[in-house]
Symmetry: C2
Subunit: 371 residues, 2 copies
Amino acid sequence: MKTTRIGILGLGTVGKGVVEALGRQNTVVIDKILVREPYRYNSDLPLTTNVWEIIEDPDIDIVVEVMGGVDPAYEYLSSALHSGKSVVTANKEVVARYGPELMELARQNRQGFLFEASVGGGIPILDALTWHLRATPIHAVEGVVNGTTNFILNQMEQGMEFSAALQRAQALGLAEQNPSADVEGWDSARKLSILAGLAFSSWIHAEKEHVLGITHVKSCHLRRLHEMGFGLRLVARAQRQPSSIGFVVAPTVYPRGHRYLKLAGSQNAIGIFSEAGTTWIEGPGAGGIATASSIIADIQRIRFSIPDREPLFFEDFPAADIDDSYLIFTEDPYQPLPDIPDSLQKGAGYLVSPHALPPETGLVQYRFRIQ
Amino acid sequence: MKTTRIGILGLGTVGKGVVEALGRQNTVVIDKILVREPYRYNSDLPLTTNVWEIIEDPDIDIVVEVMGGVDPAYEYLSSALHSGKSVVTANKEVVARYGPELMELARQNRQGFLFEASVGGGIPILDALTWHLRATPIHAVEGVVNGTTNFILNQMEQGMEFSAALQRAQALGLAEQNPSADVEGWDSARKLSILAGLAFSSWIHAEKEHVLGITHVKSCHLRRLHEMGFGLRLVARAQRQPSSIGFVVAPTVYPRGHRYLKLAGSQNAIGIFSEAGTTWIEGPGAGGIATASSIIADIQRIRFSIPDREPLFFEDFPAADIDDSYLIFTEDPYQPLPDIPDSLQKGAGYLVSPHALPPETGLVQYRFRIQ
């Protein structure tokens, strides 16, 4: 088996995880790593500040991009594919915006373009979705895919107001200095675009009307919900509708005991509802080692796969709001329906309608609007 | 893209699911289907009673085996690989017993040998384990991988004795007429051999001392546990130990609210505990459409993969019992520890030791012995 040579763009938490994990492999060699400030790193590493030394190096087979952001990452990835290199990326922003274009570019150049790490960090969801779960028609995909908002909501449930909880998350390194992508729901929306794109062969570009973050949630609401046996999470959900793909990111209410409310630390949970049944995958949604494991998996898949795959065809369905309401799900159809207290219906909000999803999903869904 | 021609061995629930699912594809064609009694089926299907018409047909690329049992399935699969065909199988008994040998035979013949459907029906676990989750060292793998025992235990918790609950499961078609593989734990043990084999590169052949079924569980124990807030499931678990692989299938006690106790119908749940964190996958563990989706995924992977993979090397670790005790897990390290009532410790059983697993697993484990 030939040695595979890779170039890495970026050396943050995930990049360092990739370097460490590849230290255990002897068939994959790191040729060069692009960084901005080489003096900040261990001098044993093959650092460069010139991206073209990677993109134009004929010995490099795969470019791994872990720098983030659209500009200049998108340009670098397009150029790498044009140069006949395969690409592995963790960049959800680039994939959400340019996924189908880059997949097609990879196919034309007979290269791989994989992005397992872009959704759910170390959770093995995208490859399973592409090859396995799509094999039976999918009704809906949903999940809690942002750990930062989980942390903030937990703090708020204990009485802290949003801005104080956010500051605490920033102090602990759990939220970015510019936190808008996380707390306004755009990070979740990008991940949902990728999940829905693969699930429904229709790449949705989220608009503002589909995405509601947690910035308007009040600590007093969370405490009140908690007293009544409910909790709230920022949930992303896409579902197949007659002539559109329902697409929504919104704070959503669940009865105590629901899997979303039990997610600890950076754990994420993603559910796929198909004709074959319901599949849930929970795992580490962030972290250097976890995210690196997704990148290593993509590298191995490219090493052992023929890049000349059948094209994935994407249709253009319009995105539609599912509902601007909060949702309550109960998972077990044999369980009694959750008791929605009158006070909640009249006070903090009201029940819009109970609505059974297709029976094979095993879900009963309540639309529930909070004032 | 060339059309792929397949031969199917067996036309039961899963075989019919495969035929139906492939009806939606136009790049995979069913050439022949092996059955014992052709007059029982729709005459439009290309049936044969002679397996060599499939194994020796040079036009057939992939043999799909869904007949079950070791004899003659093992011989057919070996012959197919020797004849230069790839093999996809749902046969956990053959894979648990001959997995490494058949993988090596496939590699030598530059063919694929995949068996996603053999564990967890439609759950995308084995490919994720092989390519992704193994990328970081795995501490343990465990799961509830047998739906029949879930049904029986649920009936018993409501007051039915084991033999009556088993008869009911048989009457509903949820248990085989010869139910020993399910209720004595061998079905779970075979699936655990496959999971542990891929997780630890060591194929364990379960011995009787590692496998405890549910035949000795009494309805009065389950009712008593239930009153105290606990439930019981048949759990399979393998873990890396200093010089062995801990391997156990045993009835295990969990506090109410644990994911295993919420599994409805034929849902299975499998957890992977690695240095990257904990990953849980839950999904349909049985059913024609679900299991067929795993087979379709394997067919597609073989169509687009180079069969000349690096060999998987298997080491010989001895199998060791983890403990002949029942286990209690609590998943959330921030939750208070479950309250083990004195009566339970003195009466139906006793707590052996609380034992924290590695912190990255987020689990606290209690060993708990029932008299």
